[in-house]
């Protein structure tokens, strides 16, 4: 069936089976491979995307259910080609990643947090990424990256949801 999806502020018409998950649709039909398939049953968080600004597991949502929502993937965060968002920058600087598999989802989960809460406490940062598993870093540098990005964005008076 044909579905019209709003992904990274662009309209896309995709022809999919009703059973196709949003994750598979993003990866296989739209080649947005920044959403990663991990456990595919909602535990690891690697497939996180933003649905109307809220972090959501794309493996637990069918693509047809995404009709009418604004979907944002990691590919939609950078302000322009070759540039990085403040969060992406901070993850590079603090070594907030090793293998990188969980990273797009971590950044999107953090993005959802910072668009609602410009000065999160350490506990709030941990809570926001507690649904995302990282098997490399031990999380310390990820928390550091989010705190650094929050501080910079406050300094520049920009909000996470302003691209």
């Amino acid at each position: 069936m044909k579905v019209e999806l709003d992904i990274n502020r662009e309209r896309h018409t995709v022809d999919i089976e009703p059973r196709t998950s949003l994750l598979d649709c993003l990866r296989d039909k739209l080649l947005l491979t920044g959403a990663h398939a991990g456990c595919e049953h909602g535990v690891c968080g690697a497939c996180t995307v933003l649905v109307d600004g809220a972090a959501v597991r794309s493996c637990l949502m069918f693509a047809v259910q995404a009709d009418g929502y604004a979907i944002t993937t990691i590919e939609g965060l950078a302000p322009g080609p070759g540039e990085l968002s403040p969060l992406q920058d901070a993850f590079c600087e603090t070594h907030g990643m090793q293998c990188g598999y969980c990273t797009p989802a971590m950044i999107l989960a953090a993005h959802a947090l910072l668009s609602k809460n410009t000065s999160p406490t350490r506990e709030e940062i941990i809570e926001a990424i507690s649904g995302n598993i990282c098997r490399c870093t031990g999380y310390a540098q990820i928390v550091e990256a989010i705190a650094l990005a929050a501080e910079r964005m406050r300094g520049q008076n920009i909000k996470a949801d302003q691209p």
């Binding site: 998950s21 595919e40 049953h41 909602g42 535990v43 968080g45 996180t48 649905v51 809220a54 972090a55 959501v56 597991r57 493996c59 637990l60 949502m61 069918f62 259910q65 989960a109 959802a112 947090l113 941990i126 809570e127 926001a128 507690s130 649904g131």
Partner: protein, 272 residues
């Protein structure tokens, strides 16, 4: 549609059903998405109870002012329900109809004695929460019915306090054991009403009415609470799995319940 196809299932948030499908534990022939039916998502203060529509998202309940003011126990457990990303899609009704014995919303429904309303062939049916949950992931909801609303009783006493504790492997993961307590105190800090429940220890959440009865007329006394809990938990059979043995669950259920009750008394005592 549900009556015509016995393999059909209702889906709303999909945060329990889709994982079950991914693991092939559920193989519905057809999914009927009710998430966008506008009349099913609401939170209404109806005096004696707060009515929550089946497709109301968990993230909405978590930050709702009516729930905070009238259903402090539900407000208390909401941050423990799944993760931020699953609460963004998951619904209150979905948590209830899936009947996972470790689910916090179900624990509150059983502890407070919520009433569940479902629709079947155009008619409303009502059932009290303790009778609704039959076993792990099994409820009294007929396959041809759809949950419409959950009514959580409101306590109108001035000094109501709540407590909730759970133990799990990582924050917001499935609880191995959980305990919830809501108490009302008089001016002398004596308990006038109590509701105590434990979750995840048994197949369905368990309300400990004998403990609630023992607390009546009493000030908080840890020794007495432990004794009463010990007697109440003595006869029950707790579950065992990879994560926790039956003996561990029973012991920790007592400890979680003591902490929840202590918090509830302290919480209520802070109110004027």
């Amino acid at each position: 549609m549900l009556a015509a196809d016995d393999g059909a299932r209702v889906i709303a948030g999909g945060q329990t059903l889709v994982p079950l499908m991914a693991m092939r534990l559920a193989r519905p022939t057809r999914l009927i998405d009710i998430a966008r039916i506008p009349g099913l998502a609401y939170i209404r203060d109806e005096g004696e109870h707060v009515a929550i529509g089946a497709t109301t998202r968990q993230c909405v309940v978590e930050s709702d002012a009516v729930v905070r003011a009238k259903l402090p126990l539900l407000a208390k457990v909401m941050p423990f329900v799944g993760h931020t990303a699953t609460r963004a899609r998951g619904t209150v009704g979905g948590s209830i109809v899936n009947g996972d014995g470790a689910a916090e919303i179900i624990l509150v429904a059983v502890t407070l004695g919520a009433t569940l309303v479902w629709r079947e062939s155009g008619e409303n049916n009502l059932l009290a929460a303790p009778d609704f949950f039959l076993g792990p992931m099994v409820t009294a909801l007929p396959l041809t019915a759809c949950l419409a609303e959950a009514r959580f009783p409101v306590w109108h006493e001035k000094r109501v306090g709540v407590g909730f504790h759970e133990i799990n492997a990582r924050q917001s993961d499935f609880a191995f054991v959980s305990a919830a307590a809501q108490v009302a105190l008089d001016g002398e800090a004596r308990c006038t009403r109590a509701a105590i429940g434990i979750g995840a220890a048994t197949a369905v959440p368990l309300r400990l009415d004998a403990v609630a009865e023992d607390l009546k007329g009493q000030r908080y006394d840890e020794g007495a609470v432990r004794k009463s809990l010990g007697a109440a938990l003595d006869g029950i059979e707790t579950m065992a799995d990879l994560h926790a043995s039956a003996a561990y669950r029973k012991r920790v259920a007592g400890t979680m319940a003591v902490r929840a009750i202590a918090d509830a008394f302290a919480n209520a005592a802070r109110r004027p």
